[in-house]
Structure formats: C-alpha cells, structure tokens
Symmetry: C2
C-alpha cells in the first residue's frame, strides 16, 4: 500500500498495530475519521487516553476499576459471602451479562500454564487467600474454562482452599441449552450422562 501522505501512513500503521485490524481496514477507519468533524477524532483520542491513564486494578478483586475499588466490590447490595474466581475480565463480564450472579468476583489474571511458564506466583492467588482470611466468604465458585490448564488451576486452588473450610464449587458443565445431543462433543456428552441430575419440573 503506497501512501502519498506520511500523516495518513502513521495513522494507518497505528490502527493496523491493533490485533485483528489489517492495513485495508485501518485505511477505511482513517478515511472515516477524516470524513467526520475534527471533534470526533479528538473525542476518540481523549476517551482512549482517559481510559489508559485513569484505569486501576481493583485492590479487592483485580477487576478493572475507575476508583481504588471497583463498582462490583463497592456495591452494598451484592452477596459478600460468595466469590466467583475467573481467569480474566472478559469472563467476569460474560457472567455479569447473564444477570444470574449477585456475589463478588476474584480475577486471577490468567491460569496456571507450565508450558507458557505461568505459575501460581504470577496470578492474583495470594490476594484471594487474604480475602478468605479477612472477609466473611462462605463459598468460592470456580468459573474457569474447562481446558487442561483450567482444570489444573481449579485443582491447585481447591487443594489450597481445603484447610480454610470454605465451600468450593464449580460452574455446572453439560450439554448446552438448545444444543443438539448429536452434535455435542463426546467428552461433554459422556460426562453429562455420568454426572446426571434428578429430573425436576
């Protein structure tokens, strides 16, 4: 792609450095901004700068926060006896979007992965145990993706949580709602028969 303008070239390269955005898409975005009023670009840039500058790590649960404590931890209406352990902020948001959970969270910031050299010390695990010691937590829910690394992380945490006497649970697994048995993977289907539950209407 040949640019007759250095300014355009730099703006295209800035967009194209973001994941999943190629140079053609980047050019489309730049030309879009050029068609809009100058204030649109200014507001766009200031929203990003304010975000990058102002965002904090919630000192309780490590969620992204505008203050020292995130909106969820600060919300008095939430059940403070429940803590849901998640890998990252995206998983936290996915659970929030269901509207089914009213407890607190704890964001690990990753999962244990020996291959990638990520051990327990690299994750927000110590702060989880601090919370269990200090707060009135009764149950820790493991909402970690069922991959090998995820299972390892859940196993490690549940072992370490045992002495504390806090209840440990994991999100239910099985065939998706609306899913077709025929197309469910063998492992999920097999386990969902073994782990069958009493039928209730």
């Amino acid at each position: 792609m040949t640019f007759s303008s250095k300014l355009i070239e730099k703006a295209v390269e800035a967009f194209a450095s973001l994941p999943g955005i190629g140079r053609k898409t980047a050019l489309r975005l730049v030309l879009h901004l050029l068609k809009q009023d100058k204030t649109v670009t200014e507001q766009f840039a200031s929203a990003l700068l304010a975000m990058r500058d102002g965002i904090q790590d919630c000192r309780i649960c490590h969620n992204l926060a505008d203050e020292a404590v995130c909106q969820i931890c600060a919300d008095a209406r939430r059940d403070r006896s429940l803590v849901c352990v998640v890998e990252n902020i995206r998983d936290l948001m996915a659970i929030e979007d269901t509207g089914q959970y009213r407890g607190l969270y704890h964001v690990l910031g990753g999962i244990i992965s020996p291959i990638e050299g990520i051990g327990p010390a690299d994750l927000n695990i110590d702060s989880l145990f601090e919370r269990i010691k200090q707060d009135e937590i009764k149950e820790v829910i493991m909402a970690i993706s069922p991959t090998i690394e995820g299972e390892t992380t859940v196993y490690y945490l549940s072992k370490k949580l045992q002495p504390s006497g806090v209840a440990v649970s994991a999100i239910a697994r099985g065939v998706s709602f609306g899913g077709d048995l025929e197309y469910a993977d063998e492992l999920t289907l097999g386990r969902s028969i073994v782990a069958r539950v009493p039928y209730t209407r």
Copy 2:
C-alpha cells in the same frame, strides 16, 4: 454488555463508533491497549490527532496531502501531460499500488448520483477544468467504477471536455487476468467479445 468501569465503557463506545467494529471487537482492542505500556496508547492517540489536524486537501488534485500540494503533484518525475480522474482516494491508492501509472490524478470526491442528490456542483469538477485550461494536459483518463452512476459521471465529463480538445480515455475493461471465463459475469464477457483486441505475442 455490562461494564463495571465508565472509562472502559467510553473507550469501547469510541472504538465501536467506527465502521465495522462491534462492541465485542471494541472491548478486545481496549483490553489490548491496557495490556500494553501507556506510551502505546499515547502514540496511537497522537498519530490520529496529528493526522486529523495536519491533513490537507491537495490544492491541485484534491488528494490527501501533508502540505498544500500532495507528494504526487509535487513529484517532478511524473508525466504532467496525463491526468487520471478517480472517484476517491482509495481508488487513487489502488492505481498507485499497481506501479503502472506515472501521470497525475484528479480526485472527484464522489460520483454523480441523482438518487443520493449528488450533482456535478458537489464534486471537484470545476478545478479539473481549471487545470485543463492552465496546465499542459494532453490526456484525461477516466478511472471510474463501471456502475450506472460511474458511467453517468464519465459521460458528463467527456461531454464537457470535448470543446477543450484534450484526449479522453477510459481504463480497459474485460475479463480479469487469471479469471475463469465460466465465472465471468455475462455483461463483462459479452462486452469483452464485442470489444476484442488484435492478438499480439
């Protein structure tokens, strides 16, 4: 999508206001910027602001320019007797990328479209005729997409150019190189038979 941070929400909305970027992609981009050093976001924002602030309309051809005259118009090695008329900057860049053209350009900034209420007065047409009057232009090449509006624009321009005595040409049309005849559309294939050219080796 529920955000527990206003700063994140605003940054996601900023990205999602761009064409072709949904809220999920926007969130991915924001989280990417958060993982990077602060300077990455600062450089990103300043590239966009510098571009939006500094970019000019080339006063000769209406290409995007860093100065009053774009790099192409300022390039002494280019053939100043040839002007290629294009609809927009993207088409200009596509032709530049072929490396086959060494003349100048004229960017119309659109095409005549009665449905969308775009008439000749809304396009950079007067400045094209000014150039033909003043400069040593011998040939005007119409490189406009072969749509109904495109054909209308080419017809209008060629009619208006007739009295000036300048040669008017249009880019060649036919079956694509490497294209399969079987899959060429009927109109293109039909016209490429009618407009057949002498075979040369």
